[in-house]
Assembly symmetry: C2
């Protein structure tokens, strides 16, 4: 039998378009013309350092793996471990006892990096079927966790207050590798119709800046942050929702646009990445109603649109993360613990 084919896991690296993977892949195929990104790439061999990148992974699915194994470069003294590195492994006996507890003692904790999605209901719902958060989590599997910190109905005034409860200053190693800040859909509600959620434009700007500033103070520098503007509002559809609830239309697309513009400006002022969803979804006067389910929240098409534009920004931030734990074909058959208990970095 050909050892590299025909067993479970092969589907990952074959680059085939399976029934299951097609819909998700569709979202990103535009970007990279590749159906098997981040799936089945051959990560490091045991004992060999490899700075895996998503670009590497793509190549790895098409080429023999050997060229992607780089000898581990020296790390200058005093510099922090690479993202994704576990705590340093204590000296390990050459031959491990077979017992579980002995393995436990020998095994170093594997640190799993995190991406935080901070926002309102459009973030909270992002793991629904076809949701952009779930797409990110799938794309980043074996690289980092994607944590949903979406709070339906919240505006930046409230977000600013809770952010310090969600992210504290840590050791540096455990600070998130990327954070999305995605508010504005509630801030931009009309003051007269929805005073509880409305936040004035000036305060929205100040709150966004304050959150970026706070993140920097807890070791999340601006280059790890992506601000996302609210999507455009389909007034006709949202008005139907409002009327069904017995009230008047409480948001206007042009007003939302002012908040989106302000979000863009904050990103420029602070040096963060930004995704101006409001502008992108209306580009060239296209009909954006299919991107929304009820005029305000994202439809499956809208989720796919957001993901396809967000992914390149996130990819930049996670490109240095290795796949966590060896590709199964690289596990040493006779002594798997030699592969699986790491070489100090994996």
């Amino acid at each position: 039998m050909n050892e590299r084919t025909g067993s479970e896991g092969t589907r990952l690296s074959s680059g085939k378009r399976t029934k299951m993977s097609v819909p998700r892949a569709t979202a990103t195929a535009r970007l990279n013309n590749d159906w098997s990104v981040a799936k089945g790439a051959r990560p490091q061999n045991p004992g060999v350092w490899r700075t895996a990148t998503l670009t590497d992974n793509r190549r790895a699915t098409n080429c023999a793996g050997a060229s992607f194994h780089h000898h581990r470069p020296p790390r200058p003294r005093g510099t922090p471990p690479r993202p994704g590195s576990p705590r340093p492994l204590p000296a390990r006996p050459a031959l491990l006892p077979a017992g579980n507890m002995a393995l436990c003692e020998a095994a170093s904790s594997l640190y799993w990096p995190r991406v935080l999605l901070f926002g309102d209901s459009i973030t909270q719902f992002s793991f629904q079927q076809g949701g952009w958060g779930a797409s990110l989590a799938d794309k980043l599997v074996r690289k980092c966790d994607v944590l949903n910190r979406g709070f339906s109905g919240y505006n930046t005034r409230w977000a600013k207050i809770i952010l310090p409860r969600l992210i504290k200053k840590g050791t540096g190693l455990d600070s998130p590798v990327a954070v999305t800040i995605f508010f504005g859909a509630n801030d931009s509600a009309l003051k007269d119709e929805n005073p509880k959620q409305h936040v004035p434009l000036d305060e929205y700007v100040a709150n966004l800046k304050s959150m970026v500033c706070y993140l920097k103070s807890v070791d999340v520098p601006e280059h790890r942050i992506v601000l996302i503007s609210p999507p455009p509002l389909c007034e006709a559809a949202w008005e139907r929702e409002c009327l069904a609830q017995g009230c008047k239309l409480n948001r206007r697309n042009l007003v939302v646009g002012e908040y989106a513009g302000a979000c863009l400006q904050v990103a420029r002022d602070c040096g963060t990445d930004v995704l101006d969803l409001w502008t992108l979804m209306q580009k060239d006067g296209q009909d954006f109603s299919s991107f929304l389910s009820d005029g305000l929240h994202l439809s499956p098409d809208g989720n796919e649109f957001l993901f396809s534009h967000l992914w390149p920004l996130i990819e930049k931030k996670v490109s240095s993360l290795p796949l966590l734990l060896p590709y199964w074909r690289d596990v040493a058959e006779a002594k798997p613990e030699l592969s699986l208990l790491g070489d100090g970095d994996h």
Copy 2:
């Protein structure tokens, strides 16, 4: 304007079947005949303790909220905080300064409970579109994180080695509220055709028991664990995959069934919950091929099937978790920090 209607977030509690929520809801509608579970429930009022349960949530979407607010019961001295509780809040000044840093100092960290999904590729792929892991994450949003610890191609021999790198003994508070252990699809590969992944039945049993034993040693008792058996194998479809890769069929459904039976027995012996997917998917001689994408991995239908059977088991384990941070309508408008910085438990 009716303050309780027509603004962002309303969609959550309206119980309406929106375009976005229908497919996900379908998976669970069989179970609870409710389209809005865990969405838009009204959690605790500020300053009032509430032990929110998913059952409460369901009722809350249909009834007035007042009856779900219980006065906080006293906690005996020396007992650990409830799951989902943040670190104790230090004494907070009655009136908070407006500055962000001051808020930061006053805010206690909010601990986010975790569910761990530990398994092979069927777990690793569980955040693909319609995947059972993403469904769990969506269902448990604002209650806990659902972390993907799936390792494509791995068997229990390797899983046993890496488990201590994934979960260490913690403070009790931070141990996972639920763990799924879902292996067997690779262990049950035929020894002659796939010696690398094959694990003998006796060793599979011992490895599963060893992992349950390890989890108990790090404060994850058996009642938080769900063993999941491998699904049945559609030999015709999987043989096509194998032949396309130039090798012979390397798994047999009857052999997989032996591993599923052993998994069931381990669960009985150890006192954990179990989901015998192999048996459930073949119940009453039904055609199970639609549950599989390539004969081995789950199709969208298979993901939905797994989720619909897993959810009741997970629901039991997370029923005491509160929704994290207040429902937006409960945030005090004039002084939101009073709602958002907690009363010591929220």
